[in-house]
Every structure is written in structure tokens, then in C-alpha cells.
């Protein structure tokens, strides 16, 4: 039996009031605005927050864990200073340029995701997909970004080909960004920076039915 909306919200409110993370389930999106309002009210209850000492130490370790770039040109420093206006797009470009960790060596060539006993999962109507914009969908255990170009669709895995982190679609730069390191991928799954050698994202099988529904091969 589907969960009643008031029970759905109460479950989420209870979690928030007990300091637990948001554990959202399928169908919760129906009350998305109420959930966001609940999260903000829960935050208001506890007032302005500071990081815990343990989390601050963890962040310090992360920040210190990669060798620093020892010097940079004044021009590059100026570019960094202008990054406020340039925003995340410029950050991505400059970030990749200055990333001092060695580029991971190429792994095996990317291949399509073909789940054992895979099945086609309906992920929406063609009309639900904006032209050229990545949309995250799930077909069981397979996460994919689906792209529509005219009447055709393509899909790539939502997982970064280097670290096991889920990508997100940055519409401003039209790139799939990895939250775990400064790399991004184009909509066809290729790494956007030729100097940061990474395998392409795995292709995910996708098709359009006669009824103009988009289906992804998942589990």
C-alpha cells in the first residue's frame, strides 16, 4: 500500500528532528517542497552550525593529502582571483589546469553496461528529456545520464570512470562533473580535459519505444 503523504512527511521530520540524514524513498518527490521546508525549519531549530572538530580534522587531512603546486604565474593567480565572476565553470577549467596530483593512468577501454538478466526499464517520456541536457535516471542498480538529441537518445553511466562517485550534470558548462576530484566528462562520456587521462564513461543501453517512451537497460 502506498505511504500516505502525512506519514511520509512525518518519517522525514522525525529523522530531521533526531539529527539523522535525509533518507528519501521513491515517491518522496511528490512532497519535495514540503521536505525542503522541513529541512530548513529543522536547521533553524539548531541555529548556526559549526563543523565538529573531528570533521574539521578530516577536511584538513583531505586538503593536505595531495601535494601542493609550489608556484604559479601571476597571470594564473589573477585568473584565480577573477574566479568569483567566472563561477564553477572557470573553476573547473582552472582546477583541472592546476591539479597537481598525477593523472591516473588509462584503464581498460570503456564498454557498454550489459547487466546479467538485464531488463528494459521505462525512465520517462521523450518529452521529459530536454534537448541536449543530461538527466539522471535509474534502472534498478544502473544509474545513467540520458541525453536527447532530436528524436534520438544516448546514455552514459552516472559513475565516474576513475573514482566510485556519482557524477552530476552541470547545465552551465554542459559537462558531467565528478564531486570527488576535479574531472568532468562531456555528454558522450569522454573526459573533457585531454591532459587528464581517464577512460570514457561506460555506455548505457537506451532505446525509444514506438510510444515515445525512453527505456534504459538495467537490472
Amino acid at each position: 500500500m502506498p505511504e500516505q503523504p502525512e506519514n511520509r512527511i512525518e518519517r522525514i521530520v522525525e529523522d530531521l528532528l533526531h539529527g539523522r540524514r535525509l533518507r528519501l524513498r521513491a515517491g518522496d518527490a511528490e512532497e519535495k517542497q514540503a521536505i525542503i521546508a522541513a529541512a530548513r525549519l529543522a536547521a533553524a531549530r539548531s541555529g548556526p552550525q559549526r563543523m565538529s572538530p573531528a570533521f574539521r580534522r578530516r577536511l584538513a587531512q583531505i586538503l593536505d593529502s595531495t601535494p601542493r603546486e609550489p608556484r604559479l604565474t601571476r597571470r594564473t593567480a589573477l585568473v584565480a582571483g577573477l574566479g568569483v565572476a567566472a563561477g564553477a565553470l572557470a573553476g573547473g577549467i582552472v582546477g583541472r589546469e592546476l591539479a597537481s596530483s598525477p593523472a591516473p593512468s588509462p584503464l581498460s577501454a570503456s564498454s557498454p553496461v550489459v547487466p546479467r538478466n538485464g531488463r528494459w526499464t521505462d525512465v520517462g517520456a521523450m518529452a521529459d528529456f530536454s534537448e541536449g541536457q543530461g538527466k539522471l535516471v535509474r534502472a534498478g542498480a544502473v544509474g545513467a545520464f540520458v541525453f536527447r538529441r532530436g528524436q534520438t537518445v544516448t546514455a552514459v553511466s552516472s559513475m565516474c570512470s576513475h573514482l566510485p562517485c556519482e557524477l552530476w550534470w552541470e547545465s552551465g558548462s554542459s559537462l558531467l562533473e565528478c564531486p570527488c576530484h576535479p574531472v568532468s566528462f562531456t555528454s558522450d562520456g569522454k573526459p573533457s580535459s585531454p591532459s587528464y587521462t581517464l577512460p570514457a564513461l561506460n555506455e548505457v543501453k537506451v532505446r525509444v519505444t514506438a510510444a515515445a517512451r525512453v527505456e534504459v537497460l538495467g537490472t
Binding site: 517542497q33 514540503a34 525549519l41 582546477g95
Partner: protein, 184 residues
Amino acid sequence: MTLDPRSPSDSSASSGDSGEVVELPSATRATDIALDELELVYAFIYARVGNRADAEDLTQQVAMKAIPRLRQGAPASAIRGYLFATARSVLGAFWSTRLGVSQAELHEDLALAVPQGPPSDESAERARRILERLSDNYRRVLELRFLHGYSLKEVAAEMRSTVGAVKVMQLRALRAAAKVDPDA
């Protein structure tokens, strides 16, 4: 473009500038500056997700995305601007992935000015303005539940109602709160 530390002449050749170099702050100093700025980011994110675990995950994502920028020794103001641009992007992806909320729907929630000082009680002030605009019953149920931490049963007793009715009222009150523009 190369990832290896470049010599001044390499940079000059590629960028067309004089190749003059500037020394960066020490690693410890740069990390301390970054952590202080990330404190603001954490407060910004916490005010929007309402719990520590998600706020920590998202702040860590911001830090990891921003590591190259943080290492450049840029002024704190530039670092802050970049971190908040990244934080908005990360928060947008968080709600989009979990609830299918579009960036446009989050525009007002995320398009806030970059804080100029230590974390303020902005979220409490915002909540107060939202609650003020609700009907008495809706305001009361949300105040008791969220600001005073009452259980559903305690709210029901306080409002002389039933747990079931309070649960429905809480849902409706949150829907109403979501429609309030606290800046109007």
C-alpha cells in the same frame, strides 16, 4: 595544458604573460584559510539540509571540488566566492538527485549573497519570517514541532487534537510554508 608543475617559461609560453612567479602561502596557512572558509560553507549547507551528516558530506564534496583552487593562494574573498558557487552547485545536485527538484525551483533558496562574516542566525530569522505568514494553527504546529522539539503526541495534547489530525496538519503547514516568500 599540463598537470605537472610547470616552469615559469612553460607558463609564459602557454599564457603569453611575463612568466613572473609569486610564492604561495605555506601549506598550513593555506589549509587554515580554506578551513575557515569551509566553516561558512558548512553553515550555509546545514541551514538548507537540516542535518549534520548530509551537511558534512556536501561540504566535503565542495572541498574536494575546490582543492585545486584552494591551493592557489588566492585571496580569501576569491576563495569564498568560488566555494559558494560550488556549494550552490553541490546543493542543487543533492536536491535534484534525491527529489528531482530543478535548479529553477531552488533558485531563490540558493541565490543568496555570499556571507561576509561568521555564520549568522540567518536560518532562524528566515524561519521566523515564514512562520509569521502562516495561519495560527499551521504556525503553532510547526513552532511546537520544529522549534520546541515536541513529539506528535505532545503537539496533539497541546492543541487538543489527535495524533492523526496533527500529522495531517503538519503536512499542510509545511506545504504552506514552502509557498511563503520570506523576503516578500
